[in-house]
């Protein structure tokens, strides 16, 4: 069956809420009926057909073509199937994502993967602020799954993350990994100020040594970690090839919070 495809007809002026267009909800529906579905905009309601040409059948495999940063909440709350976004995505991409895969060829705006709990989100480009962080009303940020960011990440990446894995191919903004409760973040590029601020548990792994390391981290020296082998192999299984090596400098912190987390600065 061909993928159920949503091709954007014209660039929307106001943000569109595409959270209804997920495999869970569209299973068994005809393209014609889907085009008639209500599509909430920032302040009103349009129909899916107003903005998208809908073709194909297979709701377990969604495609969005030509989307822009006004296309919000793509894949939000989705729990199954695969979604491919050929274009950019707006805010709350894959927020509260519960399972399946979501891939974006372009960039995503704020709150990408926020409060996701399972599945894999793979964004080839950059993401805005608070990716993998909290959404409004949540007590925790990302709670599981994998969030792969090919490009740069905005500030407050992974704020109060509780479980799961995030990788950043490029650079990350300030307060990356702030208040993380648990989970793992791999930074391949640079990070902004106050990375790991208020970290309770969890691992921040840096390919490049951060320019600033918070004074409330305790240096534990360079050690060999079997764990790095495991991580490297797990990433490889997900198509992310990165050499982590065996040794890393370990700093424990943030002593301002619980102090049971770590920074691993790879050698």
């Amino acid at each position: 069956m061909s993928a159920l495809t949503f091709e954007l007809k014209q660039a929307p002026e106001e943000p569109l809420d595409l959270s209804a267009l997920i495999p869970d909800r569209l299973a068994g529906m005809k393209a014609k009926d889907i085009a008639g579905l209500a599509l909430p905009t920032l302040a009103g309601t349009a129909s899916v057909g107003d903005y998208f040409k809908v073709t194909g059948k297979d709701a377990a495999s969604l495609r969005f073509l030509g989307t822009t940063d006004r296309c919000d909440r793509i894949g939000a709350g989705s729990s199954e199937g695969e979604i491919l976004v050929d274009g950019d995505a707006g805010a709350y991409l894959g927020a509260k994502f519960k399972g399946g895969t979501l891939e974006v060829t372009g960039n995503a705006a704020a709150y990408a993967g926020a409060a996701m709990s399972n599945g894999t989100i793979d964004i080839k480009g950059n993401v805005g602020e608070r990716a993998g962080g909290l959404t409004v009303g949540e007590v925790h940020g990302m709670r599981g799954g994998r969030l792969f960011i090919g490009g740069n990440a905005g500030p407050y990446l992974a704020e109060r993350m509780r479980r799961g894995l995030i990788t950043v191919g490029g650079d990350a903004g300030e307060y990356a990994g702030a208040r993380v409760v648990a989970g793992t973040i791999l930074f391949q590029g640079k990070v902004g100020r106050n990375a790991g601020y208020g970290l309770k548990r969890g691992s921040l792994i840096f390919k490049k040594k951060p320019k600033q390391i918070l004074p409330t981290y305790a240096d534990c020296g360079v050690i060999e970690f079997t764990y790095l082998n495991l991580l490297e192999r797990a990433l490889k299984a997900d198509g992310i090839k990165v050499r982590l090596g065996r040794e890393a400098q370990r700093l424990m912190g943030d002593m301002a919070a619980l102090g049971k987390g770590e920074m691993l600065i790879l050698r």
Binding site: L42, A43, Y156, Y175, P215, T216, A218, G259
Partner: protein, 366 residues
């Protein structure tokens, strides 16, 4: 009063009519600034509900941080009265508290207090600020952060209070922090004084953790410097009216809060918001409305040029030109300030917003 349309003075009714049209045409009107009294806030919320708009405040960023903190972890707020009468160690974090009220220290450390716990002399611990004129009723010590930011200073203090060793523990700053931490641990009632507008959000959480560490055995709490422009009053009003803080949209009927999405500044900059009502009525603020969309500016006479916005409407100053309910830091709650002169003849913010609402009603009916 005067009402200006495109810089030209017009009849009040015409101005309001045009304002109503402007809002009626807008997809997502934003009612913000909201430097006004509770009556003004109530009218703003009612108008937002009517037109499906967004409410925000000029101090919305700090309010949003404090709201998120409260929602995620809670808070141990201390009233000004308790701070003034019962605290022994008062930690002022950053420069904002003393900038907001130059007499703050005099108010915190009066000659005489109500009975308070413990035997410690009262003491100011200044971190990241340079207090002047500390009253003789209090001792005073200072932590000079040097190259470190306020955020890192706060985290070092929290680490020291929790008794966890860390990298810079042995530096001069580390030792100075350790001394301050010891005083806090030996306190009977420690209070942290700070502004949510100045502290980064993660720092607010660290301060809360520190309070909770301390209050296991003794008392501790936070005193947040009131948001400027009656921000706390307006925010409280939003919370009790619709259950949610400012940065709430009524566009889809039910209130929806999103501290990022419904920031007035972001909405205007992104073009998502397409009309702005900016209320700046408490005697003029440094915070100016974000630019880029048709704006109805409600402000006091002399505060803005007639051309400062599409429509400029002059109103009285709440608590000066008329009685007003405002958030009063002294009671950490909403109080009444009586107007001084009744002769200004200027309308209140609520009058204007209600009148615009009434025009919209009339339009609907027509």
């Amino acid at each position: 009063m005067a009402v200006y349309l495109d810089g030209t003075e017009v009849e009040e009714a015409d101005g309001l009519e045009r304002a109503a049209e402007l809002l009626a045409e807008a997809k997502l009107p934003v009612i913000a600034g909201l430097m006004t009294d509770i009556a003004g806030a109530q009218s703003a919320l009612a108008l937002a509900q009517k037109i499906g708009g967004v409410v925000d405040h000029a101090a919305g960023e700090g309010i949003a941080r404090a709201s998120r903190l409260m929602r995620e972890g809670g808070m141990n707020p201390v009233s000004f009265g308790e701070l003034r009468n019962r605290s022994d160690r008062v930690v002022v974090l950053g420069e904002a508290p003393l900038q907001a009220d130059p007499d703050l220290l005099t108010k915190i450390f009066p000659e005489k207090t109500l009975p308070r716990p413990g035997d410690n002399p009262r003491e100011l611990i200044a971190i990241g600020c340079k207090p002047k004129g500390v009253p003789s009723s209090a001792k005073s010590s200072k932590v000079d952060l040097g190259n470190q930011s306020l955020a890192t200073g706060i985290s070092m203090l929290a680490a020291a209070v929790a008794g966890r060793s860390f990298g810079d523990g042995e530096s001069a700053l580390g030792k100075s922090i350790a001394t301050a931490a010891k005083k806090l641990k030996d306190s009977a009632f420690a209070v942290f004084v700070y502004s949510p507008l100045e502290l980064d959000e993660p720092s607010l959480h660290v301060v809360l953790d520190m309070i909770r560490e301390l209050c296991k055995d003794t008392r501790a709490g936070g005193y947040t410097v009131a948001a400027p422009g009656n921000g706390d009053g307006v925010n409280l009003c939003s919370v009790w009216t619709c259950g949610l803080p400012v940065r709430t949209s009524f566009a889809h009927g039910k209130p929806e809060h999103d501290a990022w999405r419904y920031s007035a500044e972001r909405l205007v900059k992104s073009g998502e918001g397409d009309a702005l009502v900016w209320v700046d009525a408490l005697g003029g603020s440094d915070v100016k409305p974000p630019k880029g969309v048709p704006t109805i500016l409600i402000t006091n006479p002399g505060q803005a040029a007639p051309r400062a916005a599409k429509i400029v409407i002059e109103v009285g100053v709440p608590g000066e030109d008329h009685d007003a309910a405002l958030y009063l830091p002294e009671i950490s709650g909403i109080g009444m300030i009586a107007g001084k002169g009744k002769a200004s003849g200027l309308p209140q913010v609520s009058d204007i917003l209600d009148a615009i609402g009434a025009k919209l009603n009339a339009k609907e009916a027509a």
